[in-house]
């Protein structure tokens, strides 16, 4: 069976799910199953088949599972949003069509993803500009204290969703080039005295720092990991050039914390960068330095940026009296909704979201859509969704491993990692693993920018995949 036929068969259960999901929601709402549900399923299947035929024509060898997985997630999102608000679902369906157009447009426009390397600085500059846009007066819009959106007339738009793609493209290209020079042979064992100096001095400095600043456990661990990683990096006789990109991207991430004030996006970008850095260099020490610098910077900023500090406080104790009815309301309600779902959930269409004018699950269609899913489909439904993302990540990383050249590998890795990180940041926020921030759940959450950007991400992955697998077949590796 060819890859494309497998893809087509993968789309069938997705359409059934859409039809069944809409049927369930409509059934609880009107107590009768209208033909509308079959129509929804058929239209969704039709759109996906069209996209499939397009892939068949343009990218015949691309990974057969990525597109059905994306469609599955989008279908789950449509059903959940329909359940929250039929009007929003109609808009989301329109955005899904727009996303499919962008998906096809990307594939038409970028026949070979290597052309992106030529424009990498332009792409990087454009991405940073996009990130800063929401702070510009007139078009910027503040949501929950974070600057993530801009408003152009009636359309609200989240530039960070697109900036994340641009920055990954830039980093993949940049690290492909500099990754090799970042890695140099390690030092041979030094003579006794120098050995002592290399390890002893930093250890003493770390100890002094911990004692002098009276750091807590978290702070001490940070300092120790940082110093240990730094020593490991120094053993490779680095030139200042080594720290250039690291410092630059770290600075960028910190700037993002200050400029757009969103810990979640910042974590997502920087995490994506560290993932790429690790894949490019294979040096954990660099990751250690980077990660500790990020956490240290966040701690410092958290103390000085009230918005970030507030988010952290809510995360630590959302049920505190006075907090639970105010800033902590959203996360507390998210946890209550999940507790209400239990193992099997209450069934589609049964979640309590709005009561008169009292919002029980604020931002249910965006931030808290995962809580709605746990409420309606239970722990099993949620595990299914996370499983789907894990499969998506698996196929993404598989694509990266099959790819022949460094840029393709890094691009596929970066795109996959940033998507998986985004899932972790928002689901982790909703389940109180980390502070809750306002990023979307890829393909599932309501939001035009999100769905369009993720369809473009999917298109880029498929382009890389098609190249990798075609080459593999030429070499006779894949039958």
């Amino acid at each position: 069976m060819s890859a494309r036929t497998r893809e087509l068969f993968g789309l069938l259960p997705v359409s059934l799910l859409v039809a069944a999901g809409f049927a369930a929601v409509l059934a609880t709402r009107t107590e009768q199953v209208s033909d509308a549900t079959i129509t929804y399923g058929a239209v969704f299947l039709g759109l996906c088949v069209m996209a499939h035929l397009f892939i068949r024509a343009r990218l015949p060898e691309a990974d057969p599972y990525l597109f059905p997985l994306g469609a599955l997630l989008a279908a789950v999102g449509l059903v959940l949003i329909y359940r929250i608000d039929a009007e929003l679902a109609r808009e989301q369906a329109q955005w899904f069509v727009v996303g499919l157009l962008f998906f096809c447009g990307t594939i038409l426009l970028i026949r070979d993803h290597h052309v992106l390397e030529r424009y990498r600085y332009l792409i990087a500059a454009g991405s940073i500009a996009l990130l800063v846009l929401p702070r510009l007066p007139g078009i910027g819009a503040q949501v929950n204290g974070a600057f993530l959106a801009i408003k152009l007339g009636p359309i609200q738009f989240q530039p960070a969703e697109f900036a994340k793609l641009g920055i990954i493209v830039f980093l993949a290209s940049y690290l492909r080039e500099t990754g090799d020079i970042l890695v140099r042979p390690r030092l041979r064992p030094l003579p006794g005295m120098s050995q002592l100096l290399l390890y002893g001095l930093p250890a003493a400095a770390a100890l002094l720092l911990i004692l002098a600043l009276d750091l807590g456990v978290a702070g001490s661990v940070l300092v120790i990991v940082f110093v240990a990683s730094l020593v490991a990096v120094l053993r490779e006789r680095p030139s200042p050039k080594h720290f250039g990109p690291l410092l630059l991207v770290w600075g960028l991430a910190m700037l993002m914390l200050i400029v757009i004030r969103d810990l979640g996006s910042s974590l997502m970008f920087f995490g994506g960068f560290l993932a790429l850095l690790y894949v490019a260099t294979g040096r954990l020490s660099l990751i250690g330095v980077g990660a500790t610098m990020f956490f240290a910077g966040s701690f410092f900023l958290a103390r000085n940026e009230s918005h970030v500090q507030e988010r952290v406080d809510i995360w630590l104790d959302p049920f505190k009296p006075g907090v639970v009815d105010d800033e902590g309301y959203q996360i507390a309600q998210s946890l209550f909704a999940q507790a209400d779902g239990g193992l099997f959930g209450r069934g589609f269409g049964e979640a309590l979201i709005q009561f008169g004018d009292l919002s029980i699950l604020p931002a249910a269609h965006t931030d808290l859509i995962y809580a709605v899913l746990v409420n309606e489909a239970g722990l099993f439904g949620a595990a299914g969704l996370i499983g789907a993302y894990l499969l998506f990540a698996f196929r993404g990383f598989k694509t990266a491993m099959l790819a022949a050249d460094g840029f393709s590998k890094l691009l596929a890795t970066g795109l996959t990692a940033v998507l998986a990180l985004q899932v972790f940041v928002i689901v982790g926020g909703v389940t109180r693993v980390i502070p809750l921030t306002g990023v979307t759940l890829p393909f599932v959450s309501y939001g035009g920018s999100s769905i369009v950007a993720n369809m473009v991400l999917l298109a880029l992955l498929l382009i890389v995949s098609d190249h990798a697998r075609s080459e593999d077949i030429r070499r006779g590796g894949l039958v």
Partner: protein, 484 residues
Amino acid sequence: MNTQIRQLYGLFALLFAVLIGFTSYWAVVDAQGLEDNPDNRRKLIEEQTIPRGLIYARDGNTVIARNRSRRRGDTRIFTREYPRGGTFAHPIGYSFIENGRRSLELTDNDFLVGEENEFESIFSGLEGRDQEGKDVITNLDVGGTQAAVAGLAGRKGSVVAIEPQTGKVRVMVSIPEYDPNQIPSNFRQINRDPNKPLLNRSTQELYPPGSTFKVVTATAALDSGKVTPETIIDGSSPKEISGVPLENSGGQSFGPISFTDALTNSVNTVFAQVGEQIGRGTLVEYMRRFGFYEDPELDYPDFQMIPSGIINGDGDYVEDGFDVGRVAIGQGGLEGEIRSSPMQMALVASAIANGGRLMRPRLTDRVVRKDGRVAERIQPDLQSQVMKPETAEQLAGMMSRVVEEGTGTAAALSGIQVAGKTGTAEVGEFREFTQPWFICFAPVENPRLAVAVTLERQPAGSQGGTVAAPIAKSVLEAVLGGGG
């Protein structure tokens, strides 16, 4: 590079496992804790959107509590409404979001909201059923209740009537009552009313039971074999009891008299001597068997019940050290005075009527689904075997005499033999008020109803036999005459 990519995939698998782990924690492991969190208003809101089950009287026809629906946003919510006003306020109570719940509305809440466990709710989910409340059919008798309310005629007091073989509570009236429909708008005012309309005098108030307690003393004396109905005891008055002279009612002196005649004429001196003869331990033992010293085992909220028993001047329950002679006739002193709720005295009558077998009192008869299927039927349940059946038979005979020719003739029914006991306790600082009592059951051969009636702080001279007995009679007529 592929090694690193593989490791990266492993890292994400780990991170996603953490997400599943946390989701499991909130959705399953700590779900109960979150549901009980006072800031979690989901249950409260959801219960408002579920049509709560109706509450019916025993006939399955008379609606005591129903719902009124209105819209809030695009959800339909239900509020409670009580078409019978205050008549059933004390047994049924109320249920309002702002004011909480009381009485049977609280005890039977799980039935009324149709509470289901996880697996039941999967099935109802598969069948496409919404959660809906189940109806509760109570044991309450409309005619008996109306007769009790009419009999008390606005005087503070209580009437409790129980079916002896089953423990079904037919009547539980407490005056003053409150209108549960007024609770949302007027709760503060009702709560502060000096007449305490929210207090259920049947289960929440203790009164000196007076001579009706002689039935308990007689039970202990007969069942323990200390006396027989024919035993002759000196009934002269006054008689020194615990070093203080005790007089019969009106100072009447009876001379040697049979135990049966002593009950018929409610002779204090005889019962005080019998009390001293059986002793404190035996008396307390029989009281415990009747259910004294514990909340009645009624399907009713704990906070709305109080144990009957012997209470000293400090308000503590005591089982020793009291003047047993005076407690035996329904009085006492600072070391211990007998106090009983009307519910407890109804249970005493009920146990004797049922051959000594005390059945757990029940307000709920059955729980019915909306489609008519019975979800749960409350079965009669033995609480304790208080006395031997022969003792109960002897007591029934003795109590019949009270109604035939003694102090309780006002409760006599034509064609139906009634057994009863009157009581009149003197209360108030200067003994200027009385607490009239009457407990009874009928028909004697095959008792179908046991009744306790008492009135609070009546003007001096009001006797149990003249004030309380007629009320018991009209309740008996209403319940038994209506075809039982």
